[in-house]
């Protein structure tokens, strides 16, 4: 099983429902073989986007191109796109082997060829020997693999997955993420993956499209979104962040309530300063630079400790690795909060 093609382009893709735009003009180019994740909060339009690509939801406007040609007018069964549904949608009245054989049967493939393909697909997802069982006789994780095998057995160039790991517990989730990475590498199939779990998105994807209210808020690699968010929404959605509203003037960032810190050069104006908690450094009160603050809360988390530090009217979070933290202030201690120049991210408003 090896995929060919699978380059997907969305052009001004739009879906309006009465009184609301579920998807509001999305432009997206996904290269063949890429693993792209649609990430976003509930209701941001991820499923709607996916269903328009699969052909189950007719777009209000815009176009979907697969390998250069428009598929917007094609019925779902003629698009040749693999889909893994949230609850797997395995056919309960068919054996596992018949489930996987279904797309091949629909394509009129000869029986012996089908049997060989099904066997290979079962091997691919490490379920060899379970072909005779019914879906109900498998664990959730195994059902997930069957759904994957069924969506891949007809060698589609593009695979769509809508929160496929939502029903699994943490351990199984991690196993399946690993498995998915392996399959993606082995088959070279293009994957468009939907999730609202940012950690999952960061681990799996080549690129992430972060969606908000029917639009793509930011598109980029995991580190782009994490280190250089373009808006408050992105900064808040991905990871933990300290956000300060203020102004930049001549290399200094100031807030109305008196915080003042030097920042890497930037055009002057109103900005949002974002600082990841793990970039924050705490120093003893005697230090000469940094912002003066008081530790208001402290949570031990194993390999790190999370401090909440009151700085003026603001509260900053610092996440400090325990392995190399000679300075461990207690609650109530006066400290200085600083960071290495350039570790902050300035988001223009």
């Amino acid at each position: 099983m090896a995929a060919k093609g699978g380059a997907l382009v969305l052009r001004r893709l739009t879906k309006h429902y009465p009184n609301m735009a579920a998807v509001d003009g999305i432009d997206l180019e996904i290269a063949a073989g890429e693993f792209l994740t649609l990430l976003g909060p509930s209701g941001s339009g991820k499923t709607t986007t996916l269903m328009m690509v699969a052909g189950f939801t007719p777009p209000t406007a815009g176009d979907v191109l697969l390998d250069g040609s428009s598929i917007a007018g094609l019925a779902p069964e003629r698009r040749n796109i693999g889909v893994v549904f949230q609850n797997y949608a395995l056919f309960p009245h068919m054996s596992i082997a018949d489930n996987i054989a279904f797309p091949l049967k629909m394509r009129g493939m000869a029986r012996p060829a089908i049997a060989a393909k099904v066997e290979a697909a079962l091997g691919l997802v490490q379920l060899s020997g379970l072909g005779g069982r019914r879906p109900r006789q498998l664990s959730v994780g195994q059902q997930q693999r069957v759904a994957l095998a069924r969506a891949l057995v007809f060698e589609p160039g593009l695979l769509l997955m809508d929160e496929p790991l939502g029903a699994l517990d943490k351990k199984l989730r991690e196993d399946m993420q690993f498995e998915l990475k392996r399959l993606h590498g082995e088959l070279g199939v293009t994957i468009v993956y939907v999730t609202h779990d940012q950690e999952e998105a960061l681990t799996l994807s080549d690129r992430i499209a972060l969606m908000n209210a029917g639009r793509i808020e930011q598109l980029g690699r995991a580190e782009d979104l994490y280190e250089r968010p373009v808006s408050r929404f992105v900064a808040e959605f991905i990871g933990e962040s300290n956000l300060l509203d203020g102004r930049v003037e001549a290399g200094w960032f100031t807030t109305p309530d008196g915080i003042r810190a030097p920042v890497a050069a930037r055009a002057d104006g109103a900005v949002l300063l974002m600082l990841r908690p793990e970039k924050v450094v705490l120093a003893p009160e005697s230090a000469t630079d940094g912002l003066a603050g008081t530790v208001s809360e402290l949570v031990y988390g194993g390999d790190f400790t999370r401090y909440r530090v009151a700085v003026g009217a603001a509260t900053l979070t610092a996440k400090i690795a325990n392995s190399r933290a000679p300075f461990r202030p207690a609650v109530g201690a006066s400290v200085r909060v600083l960071w290495h120049p350039g570790d902050e991210c300035i988001i223009p408003k």
Partner: protein, 279 residues
Amino acid sequence: MRYWRSREALLVLPALAVYALLYLYPLSRLGVWSVFDPEPTLKNYRQLIADPVYAKALLNTLEVSFWVTVCALGLGYPLAYLMTTVSARARVWLMALIMVPFWTSILVRSFAWVVILGTNGIVNKTLIVLGLIEAPVRLLYNLIGVEIGMVHVLLPFMIFPLYGVMTQIDPALLRAGRSLGAPPWRAFVHIFLPLSLPGVAAGCVLVFLMAVGFYITPALLGGPQQITLATLIEMQVSDMLNWGFGATLSVLLVGAVATLFVIFTAALGLDRLTGTGKA
């Protein structure tokens, strides 16, 4: 666990008591009547076997019921399917339309058919006006009349089990089928139809068994060829005042229904009949 189970079993006791009093008791009385006159005797059963008219009536009953079941399924399946696809509002209206016949007595409905299907009835008149037929066709006092009347009455009993099972079918399965390459009709044949079979089984058994015991409709709309056991029982009891033989025919009817139920159950599985099984 066991403790709770036995406590929960108490909840069905009142219903069981009512059934025992109103159903099992009269039924056992019938059994007794059929073999006493007033001394113990098997003469009723000898008569039952000796005269072929009763075996013929039993066969008639089964034949009529069979065709009623087939027609009810043919009409009911598309209707039940329609109900699963339309909007919630339209569904309420469809439900109401299907329920309307329940609000009228069977007697009234059967007489209404006599008027509608008669030689000068609206059906024949329309067909003649449309030029489809030249002389009135006979729609009453034959198998056609019985079928129309009984299907009308029994259709809801086909639709509701069907609808119940169909709404349990996850629409995602059909979408999965489409995404895997099945056009709508193949998705229906390979996915929806097999998953709806428990409803088909439940509806058919329900309609067939109810049809076997039907009395008023075949009596009013059927001809001599459609004499059913229930009609004969009524004749024995109210025309001939032969309670003993009427009871014997009743035992035959109940026996036939019970036997068929056991056969259906064994062949299809009880969970499918009650519609609770997952395919």
